[in-house]
């Protein structure tokens, strides 16, 4: 039997001639200290990419890339195809894991100085791989053709249209027509299923080939400085002296971690299930609050918090600067220290980016800048604010409720966070200031002058003046006291 297999193998290898290069690749010597748990993220990203290809092909058996039917075909996948929900869950969670692991891989490569000579091109191709991964994530969200996808495309089109001169044309190119419709979904399907995966397969192949040809980055030692003139010789000496064949010495950690990651994806798919689809993509249903998937939440927050005048420049120049910075990195610091212990700015940069992205993502989950579109009807004014009030103040509370002030302002933590909480507003603003703020708006508040009658304003301000803690007096205008005292003195002086 064995001889038989060997003979068949020989027959094939005589024609394919692949056995020798494959053996050479898997048994190439790597520095012993790279057989580390820190070096498993690249292979894990590749594993997830393969998982995405497999689950993607499985989904394409059922999914229909037509604006009229995509949503229904996803419902069919979720509810009628045996384990269709699980395959959708694997693909959706796989994409989340892929973005996360690619980012972790990139961070590790950066901190370990692996982008330095002679691996500059490996890094540059890695940057393109990151961009393509994000492109897959966004186009995948579009294929889940629901309300979030529809309005997400609207946001994409709005951003595109801001490019000077070419904006309107670029929008039509992006959408495949004048509006988000059938042609839009078809072209995102083409991008998600043919164009980007094809490029990804090619670039991943190059990326892995370069890791094999140039050798894996050695564990960075403080003081072991990279110099173009001597690095290759030093690396060869290191692998010769303190190296081991990649297979089986280092590969077992990669295998373990890949299995753990795939299990985690499957566990998430089983426990949390697939993503959406949310509501039907019907543009006439406008009772919706679109949110991007988690990897773009930070951008959603940035777009809310940037000053309006900075937004277009930031949207157009920002990505160019970031991508150029990443591409130029290996040329700006292609030599020198690799160890993060000697590169404090690198460590701080990673921390700063991680904290910034984390904070923006966290903010985007609660989205305090969005008005609560339903708190006016859902939550009555708490009873405690109405006790011991005059008729005018209660009328003001009614105005407060009817004019939907709580879309943006909260009382007892119920209501929007766009404007400040009003539980103790009377301590902060005097009567005059309250009237001015209500009528003229300002800060981030619209002016209500044209929407409130003088009587309504009087009542509303009377109610707002009751909003102060029991032991704290409401704000008073000191100058008004002075004026009153002065006039009192005048009248008392005139009397005798």
């Amino acid at each position: 039997m064995r001889i038989m297999i060997a003979k068949v193998g020989e027959w094939f290898d005589r024609r394919l001639q692949l056995a020798a290069p494959i053996r050479e690749a898997v048994e190439h010597r790597v520095p012993r200290n790279t057989a580390s748990w820190w070096y498993v993220f690249g292979s894990a990203a590749l594993t997830i990419f393969i998982l995405q290809i497999v689950t993607g092909i499985l989904l394409a058996l059922i999914y229909v890339p037509s604006a009229g039917q995509a949503w229904s075909s996803l419902q069919y996948l979720n509810h009628d195809v045996a384990l269709g929900w699980f395959i959708r869950g694997m693909h959706g969670w796989g994409s989340n894991f892929m973005v996360a692991i690619v980012l972790i891989h990139m961070m590790q490569v950066f901190l370990f100085g692996a982008y330095k000579f002679p691996r500059e091109l490996t890094w540059i191709i890695g940057v393109f791989l990151l961009l393509m991964t994000l492109g897959m994530a966004f186009s995948g969200q579009v294929l889940r053709f629901d309300q979030d996808a529809y309005w997400g495309l609207g946001i994409g089109a709005s951003i595109t249209s801001r490019f000077p001169v070419i904006g309107p044309w670029a929008v039509k190119l992006l959408l495949g027509g004048p509006i988000i419709a059938g042609a839009t979904l078809s072209r995102f399907f083409t991008l998600h299923v043919f164009v980007i995966p094809g490029l990804l397969i090619g670039f991943v192949g190059l990326h892995v080939l370069m890791v094999l040809k140039l050798g894996i980055n050695e564990w960075p030692m403080p003081g072991r400085v990279v110099r173009r003139a001597t690095y290759v010789r030093e690396y060869e000496a290191l692998t010769a002296k303190d190296g081991e064949p990649f297979f089986p010495y280092a590969i077992w950690k990669d295998l373990f971690f890949s299995a753990v990651v795939i299990s985690a994806v499957a566990a998430c798919a089983l426990y949390f299930g697939p993503f959406g689809p949310t509501g039907r993509p019907d543009p006439t249903i406008i009772q919706t609050a679109p949110r991007p998937d988690y990897f773009f939440l930070w951008l959603y927050a940035v777009l809310s918090l940037l000053p309006p005048s900075l937004e277009t420049p930031a949207l157009i120049i920002g990505p160019v600067v970031v991508i150029l910075g990443l591409l130029l990195l290996p040329f700006l610091s292609g030599e020198g220290e690799k160890s993060w212990k000697r590169r404090p700015i690198a460590v701080l940069t990673v921390l700063l980016i991680a904290i910034t992205l984390g904070t923006f993502t966290h903010l985007a989950v609660s989205a305090p800048w969005s008005p609560h579109m339903n708190s006016w009807s859902g939550d009555p004014i708490p009873e405690k604010f109405l006790r011991h009030t005059t008729a005018l103040e209660r009328q003001g509370a009614l105005v407060f409720q009817v004019k939907q002030c709580r879309n943006c302002h909260s009382l007892e933590s119920i209501g929007g966070e766009r404007g400040p909480a009003l539980d103790s507003v009377a301590v902060r603003l005097t009567q005059d200031q309250l009237i001015r703020q209500v009528i003229q708006g300002g800060g981030n508040m619209p002016a209500y002058g044209k929407n409130l009658s003088p009587a309504e304003t009087t009542a509303l301000v009377a109610f707002l003046e009751t909003l102060h803690p029991a032991g704290q007096a409401p704000a008073r205008d000191a100058s008004r006291d002075a004026v009153l005292r002065e006039s009192a003195e005048k009248t008392s002086g005139a009397q005798p």
Partner: protein, 182 residues
């Protein structure tokens, strides 16, 4: 004696072959590029836009703002529900109308009209607009997009057909909104 600069017969034919392929490729590129950009070239000079009726004037009470829907004039067989479009119709008085796109002038999320507070509010980034469409607060740099409209045979008719975005023709047509009057 061999002249080093002389072109050999094979070398000449190789170059000619490359040139021949280049010509064929360039010729083929013309229709491919035309095909790829057809959605752009087709929409030149506002060809995507046309006048669509929203409903009878009497369907829109004076002094109120109502949601109306229409079918986008340019469609494709596979569009499904996506050609149905919503817009906000404000009848000021008599034949005086304003028709706003639902798409926020910031990044295109659907704005909702709140008659009680007299504001259009956006659920995404917190943009708000007054009843005449002018900017009230939040990140938008301008007022709501307005469709050009006219009353024809007792029907409110608007010129629509393209997704209203900050750079799109509809935005250019109506320009900046003056600050809140009404």
């Amino acid at each position: 004696m061999v002249n080093e600069t002389a072109v050999s017969r094979r070398g000449f034919f190789t170059k000619l072959g490359i040139l021949f392929n280049g010509v064929v490729g360039a010729a083929l590129a013309v229709p491919i590029v035309q095909y790829l950009f057809s959605s752009v070239s087709r929409g030149r000079d506002g060809a995507y836009r046309s006048w669509v009726p929203l409903g009878k004037v009497s369907e829109f009470p004076e002094g109120e703002t109502r949601l109306a829907t229409f079918q986008n004039p340019y469609t494709m067989p596979t569009d499904g529900k996506t050609v149905d479009t919503a817009c906000w119709v404000r009848r000021i008085a008599g034949d005086e109308f304003q028709v706003f796109a639902v798409n926020c002038a910031h990044l295109g999320c659907p704005v909702r009209w709140f008659p009680q507070s007299g504001l259009f509010m956006c659920p995404c980034h917190g943009g708000a607009y007054y009843r005449d469409g002018s900017r009230a607060s939040g990140p938008p740099e301008r007022g709501l997009f307005e469709y050009p409209h006219k009353i024809e045979n007792g029907l409110v008719t608007i010129q629509a057909g393209e997704l209203p975005t900050p750079g799109a023709a509809i935005a250019v047509l109506t320009g900046e909104k003056p600050p809140c009057e009404s």
